[in-house]
Symmetry: D2
């Protein structure tokens, strides 16, 4: 009998690219609050979400993650427990309540890519780098103190797509707010049968659930953000027209649940253009 | 309106990791026919497939691919059109007819990984390398002639998992047979809602369909194959107990269809062990 | 006793990053002839070379290489025998005779990087991709025939630095000429002792030597070339002001010698700016 | 005029793979003290070093580095400021005084590779991973506290070469000692002129110099270490016959000097075997 939470399913169930939940995460965050063109934000909202009253409200996040499943076996082999991530969230309303949704996201490991698809994160592979803090005064690393400067970059397919920076000014009393509302994503898995390419096998709006959330002290300061265009990418349509504050902190949580908010099955689905 | 065949779906539909079918492929193949432990092969058969009368019959394939969608736009950016692949197929019977199925497969690009999942290929990322032939006599490259020696290797997560070689002896009259029968895969997409981790959203046995198949002259010769064990992998359970001939050729085809043979929805599904 | 042609030198001499010469090479080439700003070309000429009478004459080359040392052992492990390369050569005169010199070059493997430094190629690591030809008619690969279109790209540190294309028109009678004259490079190895950072331990103008050169039929056609700027790079100063023909062919040779043309030891050397 | 500390030297001096010293470093260390076969250690000593009275005394080090030159410009582009490293040091005597020397070392960036060669570190490219500590209690990351478990791994050319672990027990009063004595390396740069392949252009024993050294509190505990064999590697000859304590800490320093202890020029040099 084949066992396992994801493909490849195997006799012992040890081959799954994504092991069964729960999944534990901890990571260093760089969050940059900004506003994109309101029309561009509206254009990436999945069906059922309405524009947010603060038009174009968005955030860009760089994260340096370590994660594992319940056994913690991945921590014995660090290459299987670490990945870096960049994503954008835009703000919207669901039935009048503030929510966020993630139109674009990149990670640098396969397990994180598919674990993301299972949660409705539309992940692609990218190359993400972030300035690191070390607990030692050094010319080679910024302090967690006023003046400490942190930079994040994203590339995919050999092209630089995003660059952000945060120069710390003070400990933050409130922390970031643009990425605070509940996160709604779209789970989607295509169909290949001829004539049904536009009728995905899975297509549903879902609300992320998590537990055991923990956060370090948060530093905030002035931020910069650039999003660049590339073939096969529409990220640059969400480029900032105004940039707010940036934040730097460490965050951890556990995921083993998801709530389906709306099943799009049977809805009309638009085909895509070429790559 | 969001457009696109796969996530991420976007206003213009240009962001999809996998563009809409058809998908055109051409690649250099190294095929090694072999026999694994019959019990090990039986253990990886999906429900509905029965053991083949030639017990343990299998093949290992290394492929150096170039592919594109109908627009051919990927060929303007070679990093988005090329990938390498290693996979094993085992032989079985479906309703008494010979078929093959692919229990394990690795590729080195994200678009190929997800395009594989859509077809039921249980792809993970790996690092695949193959000796190349150049149309020039050289100490640095084997000839397509008796004595020409081609090697393929697979690694994943920094561990070498497979190594195969073929030393050409003659043009083949018949070509490889262990990978010849129709290919049956399992499309599978997990569910994350609490309490339903064992009830995948998609779970079906599918038969691959392709068209416009073309093949070069085929060379054959003596072959070697080693499969190694690693944490999070069960590939080594399919290690050879006997190795047959090896083959080297170029092959191309087009994919834009898939046939569902059996829907496993509602079947009992076994959870996996830890990673 | 420590043995080996290069570091790391070891008891058995098997650890050397670069094994002892001779080194055999075979590879697919994309050559794009062009002209850069004459002043920019003059600015990259090493001492002793004078501007060419055809000002700004240059070529950009993408190469998909396979190489090995005399034992051929690397071919048993393809990851250690393959690499891709992008470089520019500019034309100049040495004592009135036409020569070329390579100011910038990128490869994607460590052995190729250091093997290049030994020959005076100023290699850095990059990510190079080239459209491949397969000996089969396919939508997924260009033919070696009129209309066949080949693209090459270079990135380094996650930034796209170069893109070139050649659309084949005919078999070439003459082949490329901008990269034809003898190649002069600068071997250079820094010193770290305080006060002597500007007095390199090795600093000499060398002429490349090779043997057993072989070449396939050459296709030529219309070409495009773009060179982009990036921090820590000056490649874009050699961007084309006019692009000539492009060429596509396979070439092989063997290297085990080098001629010192001029020893710069004792010459004044200018320090660099920051990165 | 061409400028720059290393190749490629360029009009503005911004292209150098290695910018001019000083170089500032800060990184997280995992140090595992052990003893290898005394004969194996003696076999890797460069001329002039004698065996240490504690035969086979060695250490393996995994380091997660961030570094920059005086301008700090690399910190604005994290991909150019970060790298990971694995190396072994063995203990010896120079004129009766305890010293260490590094026979084998791997890094994952080109600038670190060549910057190492300039200092006499025999660097190759590898893939190095280390468990990270985050300042937050989490199932996904070890604490800097008794029971915290840190793992390091090294692979090169798709093969796993080393794995080490340290399980923290207590803050260390003394810190590691096997890597404490002054570090002696061999600067070496080959010659390619025919007939002189065995007469390197640079070949000298050097003593590392550094300044502005800083170190965090040091944790120590039980350690494990495995070194595996691979083609083209002799690391496994230094595999442990006994493993001592392991240590985990953060360390920073600055390098801009080097002392030549002995010039091997003119000494007989042994050629290497094949790869």
């Amino acid at each position: 009998m084949l066992r396992g939470y994801s493909l490849p399913r195997s006799p012992e169930g040890r081959s799954s690219l994504v092991p069964a939940p729960p999944w534990h995460y901890v990571g260093d965050f760089l969050v940059i609050e900004y506003w994109a063109e309101p029309e561009a934000v509206e254009a990436v909202l999945p069906p059922g979400l309405a524009p947010h009253p603060d038009p174009g409200r968005s955030a860009a996040l760089f994260v340096d993650w370590q994660s594992c499943s319940e056994s913690g076996g991945e921590l014995e082999d660090p290459i299987r427990s670490q990945y870096r991530e960049f994503f954008v969230v835009v703000n919207a309303l669901l039935d009048g309540d503030p929510v966020t949704t993630c139109p674009y996201i990149w990670v640098d490991k396969d397990f994180a890519l598919v674990r993301g698809w299972v949660q409705g994160f539309p992940k692609k592979l990218g190359s993400i780098h972030m300035t690191r803090h070390f607990p030692l005064s050094s010319n080679a690393g910024p302090a967690l103190a006023a003046g400490g400067r942190f930079v994040g970059t994203l590339a995919a397919n050999d092209r630089r797509l995003a660059r952000g920076s945060v120069t710390l000014e003070r400990e933050s009393e409130v922390g970031p707010t643009h990425n605070d509302p509940p996160l709604l994503n779209v789970r989607h898995f295509p169909r290949l049968a001829a004539g049904r390419h536009d009728a995905p096998a899975v297509h549903e709006l879902v609300r992320a659930r998590s537990r055991d959330r923990a956060i370090s002290p948060i530093w905030e300061g002035a931020a910069e953000l650039e999003l660049e265009s590339a073939p096969g990418e529409e990220l640059a349509s969400l480029a900032p027209i105004r940039v707010g504050k940036g934040f730097r902190f460490t965050f951890g949580y556990t995921v083993d649940d998801l709530e389906t908010v709306r099943d799009y099955a049977g809805s009309e689905v638009a085909a895509g253009a070429g790559p």
